[in-house]
């Protein structure tokens, strides 16, 4: 099963991705994270309006196998959360980079994007 890592996205070592749309970051988890977690059973997302620093705990994702924290890949203010996933968290797995998005954040430190991994670096990191 080949996992994909779209080249236009930014990645973290904790397996989040950032899809940039203007100065809004769409945050989700990577195909590798989805594969590692297995059947996702629960997502806990932050409230809209809250400010997070890069690396702060943004939420929780649980699967039958494990509990995993979601970390803010960049600093910013939460502008939207994907509420529909709370009742249907399994949808993250079918389209992690699209319908499986978790949180949108208004960037407060856009320069942090430079510190995230490219798709190639992330792929090398996860050894896939």
């Amino acid at each position: 099963m080949a996992l994909t890592y779209p080249p236009e996205l930014h990645y973290t070592v904790t397996h989040e991705y950032v899809a940039l749309s203007g100065d809004v970051a769409v945050v989700g988890i990577t195909a590798f994270a989805v594969e590692e977690l297995g059947d996702i059973t629960y997502v806990e997302l932050p409230v809209v309006g809250r400010t997070f620093s890069r690396g702060e705990r943004l939420g929780t994702i649980e699967s039958v196998k494990a509990v995993s924290d979601l970390y803010a890949p960049v600093s910013g203010v939460v502008t939207a959360v994907h509420e529909e996933l709370v009742d249907a968290p399994e949808r993250i797995a079918s389209d992690p980079y699209g319908e499986g998005w978790l949180v949108k954040m208004q960037l407060t430190k856009p320069e942090e994007l430079q510190e995230l991994l490219t798709a190639a670096d992330y792929q090398a990191q996860v050894g896939d």
Partner: protein, 354 residues
């Protein structure tokens, strides 16, 4: 790392995991499909990692009877019993199924992680005339309401008359295999012991027929829904059958057995904690070690938990202090920063439709 004799049949189609020193399939097509296949139709498991021990002795039943709390002397050829091996303090060394072949021969199927410990224990505690022989054959489990029909299609030997926990040798197109109407899923089904080549042939034949292969993740949910214990999680050497909800295994009238005095003392005194079933709401899974609370005090710990696909709710097993173990008792489970409500229920969360 050890590999099953069936390894080459599925190594390219399974997500793998390490378990008790073995590399085993965690998952094939996915938990939901595998679970549904077993509950609705049939599923196929490789359980070759489980420990297989044969005992031979003219007095095998008399001797083995001393190491378990269950009376095995009533076991006729072709019958089997679920029981536990106890140490002198009544602690559970392992849980196992004992199969009677005849007056002089028994097969024990034990947990993979306990195999070496059990062999050493049996050699140490059985008289030297009892031969304790580890066996390494392929073991498959075919589980679900269609299992009997699928197995029957391979043999002219009659299976329908074999009761639950019954077993026999049957003839298949590839040779003789030993089959038992036992399992770890809460469904009707069979466990099959076969020479490696025959085991592979059976696996491939059933796969070609479209039987769903299932991994350890599905197996764990199926057993938990059925209220079946997992050794090492729901019980170990520090708990007795009375605490583990396995008091029904103890035959107080069978005469002495290892651990009996300790169990009797505990019975007279009353157990301080018991294994209970817990059912919650929502989607969070209660995981091993999570505290169980009553009135703000910790009164227990989770040992196994999952989000049951059969019930659509979180279910768990937990050791809880006895005053809080009556069915219907409201408790809470501490899930990280949240305290979530649960109710004490019977451990058989799922019972198959009759």
């Amino acid at each position: 790392m050890r590999y099953s004799p069936l390894w080459e049949c599925y190594q390219n189609e399974a997500k793998l995991t390490e378990f008790a020193g073995w590399m085993l399939p965690a998952q094939f097509a996915g938990l939901t499909l595998e679970h549904e296949s077993v509950r609705q139709r049939v599923g196929l498991f490789d359980i070759s990692h489980m420990g297989q021990i044969e005992l031979h002795s003219a007095a095998v039943w008399e001797h083995l009877n001393h190491l378990v709390p269950t009376d095995l002397r009533q076991l006729a050829a072709g019958q089997a019993r679920y029981t536990v091996l106890l140490n002198a303090t009544g602690g559970i060394l392992d849980d196992l199924i004992v199969y009677a072949h005849d007056q002089e021969r028994a097969t024990l199927i034990v947990n993979a992680a306990c195999m070496e410990k059990n062999v050493a224990w049996l050699r140490q505690h059985l008289p030297s005339d009892v031969v304790v022989a580890p066996v390494q054959q392929a073991l498959l489990a075919l589980q679900g309401s269609q299992a009997t029909a699928i197995l029957q299609a391979l043999t002219t030997d009659t299976l329908a008359t074999i009761p639950r926990f019954g077993h026999c040798t049957i003839h298949t197109p590839w040779g003789q295999v030993w089959v038992a109407r036992t399992g770890y899923t809460g469904e009707d089904g069979w466990e099959i012991q076969a020479a490696p080549a025959i085991g592979q042939a059976l696996w491939r034949a059933w796969r070609d027929q479209g039987v769903t292969p299932c991994g350890l993740v599905a197996r764990d949910m199926l057993r938990l829904e059925a209220g079946l214990h997992l050794y090492g999680q729901d019980m170990d050497e520090t708990v007795t059958p009375l605490e583990a909800g396995l008091g029904w295994l103890v035959d107080w009238n069978k005469g002495d057995f290892l651990g009996r005095a300790a169990l009797l003392a505990q019975k007279r005194q009353g157990v301080a904690r018991k294994l209970v079933g817990l059912m919650g709401t929502g989607r969070r899974i209660f995981r091993p070690g999570y505290p169980v609370q009553a009135q703000g005090q910790t009164v227990g710990r989770i040992t196994s938990g999952t989000l049951s696909l059969s019930l659509g709710r979180p279910i768990a097993l937990a050791y809880v202090e006895t005053p809080w173990t009556l069915p219907g008792t409201p408790l809470t489970v501490q899930v990280r920063d949240q305290e979530l409500p649960v109710t004490v229920v019977k451990r058989t969360f799922y019972t198959r439709p009759q």
